[in-house]
Symmetry: D2
Subunit: 337 residues, 4 copies
């Protein structure tokens, strides 16, 4: 921690700050320059992080030195985590593809959709039974009933299934039906929900918040790991910026940073990043070229009839092309570190 003092700081103020730091059993080093005095504090940054240093008279700014996350960090855990979902290895050498419609649309439908996804060569199936919708008047999903349909889809295809959970009260039930629990963008900092999924023994796919920084994203993963669940998959899905020609702004640039800072695998979502079906393929290519371990896309046999997100949902032919293109790309980028 580096504490920069104001140019007109007084000796009494400096003494007060030094005393405050010492009371935390930390050792401050005061350096006096021509224009500024600064105080360097070595030691456990977590202890001092809690202290509102800039509330103290004489302090101009505080600059942390260490990153706030521990369990998700590659520094403490240099080996990459591979999350094994029923034999599908996420974070290994193969680029994996998760696909399926935005929403569960009925029992017969979800099975048909899963078969389509399987035939296209994807590795895992996705569909939402609890739907977070901007409007209270929009279709809110099948709820618990849809979980049974998802189990039927897995039964029919042998593919593992991922679905979103929105409420801490539903975690146990959802975990009893599906293979991976998804935490949605709007719930990335729903800390009580994170704690609940941290207590179960199923992998969690954590989507990046719409305007969350990399640090915040990793701290939300830290919440899950801190409860005991180490199987977390990080899912960039575009961020909100001034650009409005796409639904969000593709955040492919964050992939190599996450891979350098953390040992957790990255599966990115080009459908939400772009929001336009014709741009899902180039966005998926960009994510994987930047280092993603896999891709999760919205796919439906007939996007114009999808219950939701049809505008960004690719059809069967597009999904087949995507799986093949990513397969070729995987060879080129030599996914061996």
């Amino acid at each position: 921690m580096l504490i920069v003092l104001k140019h007109d700081v007084t000796k009494d103020e400096i003494d007060h700050i030094v005393e405050k730091i010492k009371s935390l059993k930390l050792e401050p080093h005061v350096s006096t320059g021509i224009q500024r005095t600064i105080i360097t504090v070595m030691g456990d940054e977590d202890v001092i992080r809690e202290l509102p240093l800039t509330a103290i008279a004489g302090v101009e700014s505080v600059k942390p030195i260490l990153k706030p996350f521990k369990l998700v960090s590659r520094e403490t855990h240099p080996d990459r985590t591979v999350v094994d979902v029923g034999g599908v290895k996420i974070g290994g050498s193969k680029i994996i593809v998760i696909a399926g419609p935005c929403a569960v649309e009925g029992e017969k439908e979800v099975v048909e959709h899963a078969i389509m996804v399987k035939k296209a060569g994807a590795d895992m199936f996705r569909a939402g039974s609890y739907k977070p919708r901007t409007s209270p008047y929009s279709f809110q999903g099948f709820g618990p009933e849809g979980l049974k349909y998802l189990a039927a889809a897995r039964e029919a295809t042998g593919m593992p299934v991922v679905t979103e959970v929105m409420d801490p009260r539903d975690v146990e039930l959802v975990a009893s039906y599906v293979d991976v629990l998804q935490i949605g963008t709007r719930n990335m900092q729903n800390y009580n929900l994170l704690k609940e999924v941290g207590k179960i023994d199923k992998p969690v796919l954590l989507k990046r918040g719409m305007s969350s920084t990399v640090n915040e994203f990793l701290m939300s993963a830290e919440y899950i790991l801190s409860q005991g669940n180490k199987q977390v998959i990080l899912c960039p899905r575009g961020i909100r910026t001034f650009e409005d020609v796409t639904r969000n702004t593709l955040d492919a640039g964050v992939v190599p940073i996450i891979k350098q800072w953390s040992h957790l695998p990255v599966v990115a979502d080009p459908s939400h990043a772009m929001g336009i079906k014709d741009f899902v393929l180039p966005a998926a290519m960009a994510y994987v070229a930047a280092g993603a371990d896999g891709i999760m896309v919205e796919a439906h046999p007939n996007p114009e009839d999808a219950f939701s997100d049809g505008q960004q949902t690719i059809d069967s032919a597009q999904l087949i092309a995507l799986v093949q293109k990513l397969g070729k790309l995987a060879q080129v980028i030599e996914r061996v570190e």
Copy 2:
């Protein structure tokens, strides 16, 4: 709804779109220009909003005409809502001030803090007993125990109390102790939580999400109203932008827009908007000059000892100055429409 077709759209594609719209019992009007054909659809926009029009071949873009919210809209409810919290009228002619520490810090402490706030001339007390913290290793609040302390603070001062609720499982309990339930920034789109607070008979203070648009902010309020609870206070609190000299970017410009679009009262939070205690006063002035009905600030007798957010917490003298300055400002801006 306006549907702009691609420049090379075919007649078959147009026919298909027209048929699709008619199947929803809506009436499409096709206009053919030199460069583009467009289809105008009058009628219930909610019906067509669900349809993924841009997933249909030949469609270039879709432009909604109506705003998606209804119950919160001034069009359907031209009279302003005044939320009465134990006699404190929010949205009336008086600028109200809510103040208190970020966190409940103990029973004795919270009573002292409330007395300080009362003496400074503020109208309502705030303190958090459930704390959403970025790090799982930070102080997470007193939880249910703190609710009792808040009740004691109200007992001691007669001031109504506002506190945050983070979990749908806690709504009933929190509502039994305090006067206003706060939905935090990170939970603005936690729809299950919104639905729960929509079912109780206590006012809700809804904070704006870090990067939520005005439409999304009002749609989250719509969730609460749609469940029956009409007592919602909207709380802008800064947004996330590229600017990093302040914790967030002051969103005073959003106040007159919300006041024009909605009948709900606005109480803004300059502490989180700026994140620096010396800038809380000018930010509060800006919010009120722009039309806010009140201000909620973090205040503590000794900010450098605050459990959290000390850097943006004003002290007793600053709170007294703020209450007085806002009082003068209220006279100038003639809060009579």
Copy 3:
């Protein structure tokens, strides 16, 4: 300057960095903690700022301690600058109002517009003769001819005149006709233009770039001051963010920061910040409540006939109301430090 080293930095790498810093005649202090080694460098930060420290092996990040600007800083120049434009004192106790149409619309018109502005009680007249337009097919302004009309407007009203200059080749000519030269948003980092206006003896009104940080904004002012011209007025005018219901996002929160960091006066532009004429008044109030020394607005007798920016241009009645409201506000906020 604080240099944070990587957790696996080697002794050789540390020695190399230390040597590098010493070669600049600066004194590095190495502190070794449990998790990180850091190097503190006191002394002239400008010298080391040029060095690409993060390009050196073993360096994780570099944290500057000092702000990069000097001449515009209040630290080196604690007294506030008052820019005197033909008797109108900008940065003094009076809130000043600059008003006029977006564009010069003809000789007769510009004189009429100036008379309207004068009658409304504003202090200075504005109109653009060189117009930066997003489209090459839009009206580009009267150019040199319009400067003569502006001189006529000043003649007719006695009010000083401000107009934009876009090209270093025009600076001398523009300065010979008007009282204040405006540097537009899109040219805030047109350094050659900044250098040219830095060499003349006329005040410069510098608009903030669409997405410039406070530091960049002040560094652009520093360019002008570094050439000798000390009469700079800083003009916040909204910034670009994700919010799209207004043309830009009101940046009232930046005003108290600029006033704390710099001695230069601030005149803000609520017309461009909001882009909607009905919101110009609350935005102007917010800027002044936050500490601005004045306001520059677009005004026209008949906004729907304005050559450009009509949607954000207020009419005569609105301008009169704005001048009166700001006058009352000025009394409340006690503009005496």
Copy 4:
């Protein structure tokens, strides 16, 4: 153009708007629904675009139907433009690489740097002789003298050379020495400069502004084409967002959009997008995977001694790896439309 009227618009207001549109020789169609009346205007949108429709009483909002650019549009020019720079074809089937140091560092140096770039297998050389620097106290480049050094570098290697021009007064001189003129990010909307480079017969590489939308970016290209110069290369280089772990936010997602909307070639700059040398390669891969025709990177034999931008400058070994990786990637993505 679609004009949405306010819910309480009067008949007189509608008549006035209709008359206004007819006076422009355009044909308005009025459609009255239950909640809103709208007016559709077919025909030349440029004419009506100039009209400040939202300044007119009764108008709620205006929704343009057509994109504002023409010459850069693929609609009017379906064939892709290939810019031929001394035999290097930009926009053809080959992914091209432009590399070199941020700044010209001397005659001997620039020749050495060009030889390094040539040996690494890149196609074109870049180095800046006029440097736009945030601080007036930073190195501002060699100016005209440096242009001669660049000519020497071309002489020595046979590679075409690209360099930035910042001032309309320098365009002719710069064009007499180099093969491609670069317009920098900060000058993307320096319209007078755009007009000057639009009059010469040399290719122009136009960098995207820090927070410019795709529409604005293409409109700046339109400025150049409108003056007669059709040889424009578009250069995305990262945008400014809330994310601050990288210098800018990688804008790979914009590439497929530009390629769909415009016929102009795209050469992207991963160095400025990321600002960190270790992330230049994955960012370059992402740009090309998303459809870019080439990459421009900062490279230097010894980045830690670079005059500027060393932190994002790759060395010789990294450049060789980048050229090879992009070559392999090019095969996979089948650059044949």
